[in-house]
Symmetry: C2
Subunit: 153 residues, 2 copies
């Protein structure tokens, strides 16, 4: 039992083919540039507009993990922004790189390193980066969640 819980090639690397659906323990090593070994860059949203210059990395949630939540890392380049949206599911945002702004309802807040934000259900929100360095943050969400509704600004 104990040996099976560790992947055979060690925990230092991620190999999607070997772990998909297998729910194994794993370590995703940070590369010192806000990327993680074995985690690829994805488009922020697959289609549509209303956003600019964001990258998404799904760290926990797309490799067969059984958690009731997903951990993603997003990075917004200077001048970039996420969609103005609302949905029933909550967001927990933890700033880990640079700084940024978060609109929650009608109020704009600045967030810095390790500031942690809880966005409650159905609250309109948007993340922006008006600064001159990348704004990187973890965003934790329920694994089962509704689709965001985009708001026209």
């Amino acid at each position: 039992m104990r040996k099976k819980s560790i992947r055979t090639k060690g925990c230092n690397t991620h190999n999607k083919e070997k772990t998909a659906g297998k729910n194994k323990s794993a370590i995703y090593r940070h590369r010192a540039d806000y990327s993680w070994k074995g985690i690829k860059d994805e488009s922020y949203k697959p289609v549509g507009g209303g956003w600019q210059d964001i990258v998404r990395k799904v760290i926990i949630g797309s490799h067969g993990e059984s958690t009731h939540f997903h951990l993603r890392y997003f990075e917004i380049m200077p001048g970039g922004f996420s969609t103005l949206e609302r949905h029933r599911h909550e967001h927990v945002v933890i700033c880990v790189r640079g700084k940024g702004r978060i609109l929650i309802g009608e109020k704009l807040h600045r967030v810095d390193f390790l500031d942690t934000v809880y966005i409650s259900p159905n609250t309109i929100h948007q993340l922006t980066n008006p600064f001159d360095e990348p704004f990187g943050f973890f965003c934790i969400v329920n694994a089962k969640r509704d689709k965001p509704k985009l708001i026209k600004s």
Copy 2:
């Protein structure tokens, strides 16, 4: 609707009495010393031994939030360690202060800044700090979870 989702005294501070059970948006400001405004230190575990020099801070999960997960921050002082344990629920650990060691099954791994660990169900694990500075990490768990079973080492 939009105004109600923001607490009346702004998002900069946390007031447990006003928000308990109310599921409001909130910002927990990091104080630059790995503490958060409005989040108190707690004992790592309420009773029992098998652990040493750890502080727990529940950032998301004890203020009426409806998330299916809880976000906690733990800090292990030099020489400290968590209990050797296993349980059905998973752990996601993100190192954010110093460095530490994680035993996963029978293998010991060193973790540094932003290294992210997935500990799968029923895997024996323990976090230790053999280094000379505090080892701080976020630990995300399902909101509904089983009680850990302590392992005699």
